[in-house]
């Protein structure tokens, strides 16, 4: 019975660990940044993750859902989740006050291949809530600045009022460490000081050697299409384009089946996939 596993000592991979909402920072309309800390002090110290990974968060009595981590592992102790109010679990999450307990398990997913990224230029391209996972990578890269060459962020939002982490990112514009290009589709308030237009327009301000660059993309489906077009025009190797994908996930550990794309589980093999993966997997984007 070689296949029969003895499970007497194995842990339950589905058990949420109790964690406390330390602080809730309102972002834009229907988006909040939740700062969360485990109750178990041991876990506070030992919990680490890679940029691009996600956790399963349980609102007690409502249910569980996946959320990508917005904080960087270089800042241990508190996990930050940037959440859009969009469904069953997030509706309930938005009703919680600071100091409420939630369940957290993870981290799950492959995350960005940070070791592989070292020594390269990093081009981050985000649209809308896509900034949530990329903020983790951005801050990780900035905290380990010497390990990377040029760092470029291209982030587009519909208008200035809908730009996530706006002030945090505006502060980066004057830094030498990173070329921070922010754009909005429309600026009706006429207060916006950075670019206007779609995110792909920002490519004209970027001169980068694709062979020494990794591009990390996250945003709405439609954005992927146009950004990919631009990257391929510039001869980006298909395996140097990294995309963070979203799927229905109910277990996070490659069992429940919902996030399956072709022969990959988004929760185990992703959520970070290369464009080469995408070509080989049907219906990925």
């Amino acid at each position: 019975m070689s296949n029969r596993k003895d499970c007497s000592g194995c842990q339950n991979p589905y058990t949420p660990q109790m964690a406390r909402i330390i602080r809730i920072l309102p972002q834009i309309q229907d988006h909040q940044l939740f700062q969360i800390q485990f109750e178990d002090q041991q876990l506070v110290k030992s919990f680490t993750y890679r940029p691009g990974q996600f956790v399963m968060l349980s609102v007690i009595g409502t249910g569980e859902a996946p959320f990508s981590i917005s904080s960087s592992p270089t800042h241990a102790g508190v996990i930050e989740l940037c959440v859009r109010r969009i469904g069953h679990v997030t509706d309930a999450l938005f009703k919680l006050a600071p100091n409420t307990m939630v369940g957290i398990r993870g981290p799950y997913g492959n995350g960005f291949p940070i070791e592989q990224l070292e020594g390269n230029n990093i081009l981050l391209i985000a649209g809308g809530l896509g900034m949530a996972p990329l903020r983790s990578l951005l801050n990780y890269v900035l905290d380990n600045r010497s390990k990377f060459k040029d760092v470029i962020l291209m982030y587009g939002a519909r208008n200035p009022e809908e730009m996530l982490f706006k002030y945090e990112l505006l502060n980066l514009i004057d830094l030498a460490d990173v070329k921070c290009l922010l754009t909005v589709d429309k600026d009706e308030s006429k207060t916006w000081k950075a670019y206007t237009g779609v995110v792909t327009n920002l490519f004209e301000h970027v001169d980068i050697n694709p062979a020494q660059t990794y591009a990390a993309i996250c945003g709405p489906e439609i954005m992927f299409k146009f950004v990919l077009e631009k990257l391929l025009q510039r001869n980006f190797p298909k395996d140097r384009i990294l995309m963070s994908l979203e799927r229905n996930m109910q277990c996070g550990v490659g069992k429940c089946g919902h996030c399956m794309i072709g022969c990959k589980y988004t929760c185990l093999d992703g959520p970070i996939f290369t464009y080469w993966d995408a070509i080989n997997l049907p219906e990925m984007i």
């Binding site: 009595g61 409502t62 249910g63 069953h88 509706d91 309930a92 009703k95």
Partner: protein, 259 residues
């Protein structure tokens, strides 16, 4: 937390769904303790017909103009309006023959005296007002009601099954009545939640809980025809409980456009 104020109303129907609430014998005290029930004439006196309500449960379908008014007023009074029972969700059995003009129907049933009734075709609540949650069933399932009440108390809407009765029937390993006995079973089209109660007694599903989203009635009709059922048998079964549901509309199935 303040107890939510609740009203329980019945439009045209058999009151069976309200009865399910009363039949929650073991849980009745908990329900009464958790909710501030302001209106439930089936169960109590001293009902308040004007107060604002956090939640209103409405049973039955709309068959009279005055019920339309009543329903609209309830919608204004209540933060959450919950349709309970297949009549409220889909129109129910009284919507079975909606294609017959009401005047003709009144004459057939009541003779010349029928004129005094002011009726419209039987319709689900959602034809007139926004429905926040639909708990179907003829009658509703007690377990679903209790979970719904608990979720509402917690501040969420409950998540009800969206899959078909076949799923629950298979989970319980009841022999398939369609395949084994060639019976006219609506299990593939009907939304689960009853734990396949009828098949558990060897009775085919009649579709009393209304259809699943995107019910493939054309394929069901095709397979039933192959089993020897007439188009009339199939039509009658399809429109027994949820004739108003787009996916069960017999006209479109006949034309083969629903597949």
């Amino acid at each position: 937390m303040e107890k939510p104020t609740v009203g329980i109303y019945g439009l045209t129907g058999c009151a069976g769904d309200q009865l399910v609430i009363l039949n929650c014998e073991d849980e009745l005290l908990d329900i009464a303790g958790a909710l501030d029930i302001k209106f439930f004439p089936m169960a109590m006196t001293g009902n308040d017909e004007e107060c604002p309500l956090d939640i209103v449960f409405v049973e039955g379908s709309v068959v009279q103009p005055k019920e339309v008014e009543m329903l609209k007023k309830l919608r204004e009074r209540a933060k959450l309006l919950i349709a309970i029972g297949t009549c409220a969700v889909w129109g129910g059995v009284q919507a079975m023959k909606n294609e017959i003009p009401r005047d003709e129907m009144k004459r057939k049933v009541y003779g010349p005296e029928g004129k005094v009734f002011d009726v419209i075709s039987a319709q689900p609540l959602s034809n007139f007002v926004k429905v926040d949650l639909a708990i179907s069933g003829c009658p509703i399932e007690k377990e679903q009601l209790l979970h719904a009440v608990a979720s509402l108390l917690h501040g969420d809407l409950p998540r009800l099954p969206t899959y078909a009765v076949c799923t629950e029937c298979k989970m319980a390993e009841y022999p398939c009545l369609l395949l084994e006995k060639g019976q006219l079973c609506m299990g593939p089209l009907t939304v689960a939640g009853c734990k396949a109660r009828c098949p558990s007694y060897g009775q085919p599903c009649r579709g009393c809980r209304g259809p699943v989203e995107e019910a493939n009635a054309a394929s069901e009709a095709k397979l039933l025809k192959e089993k020897g059922f007439t188009w009339l048998d199939i039509q009658n079964r399809l429109r027994t409980f949820a004739a108003s549901a787009d996916s069960l509309k017999i006209e479109s199935i006949k034309e083969g456009t629903n597949a």
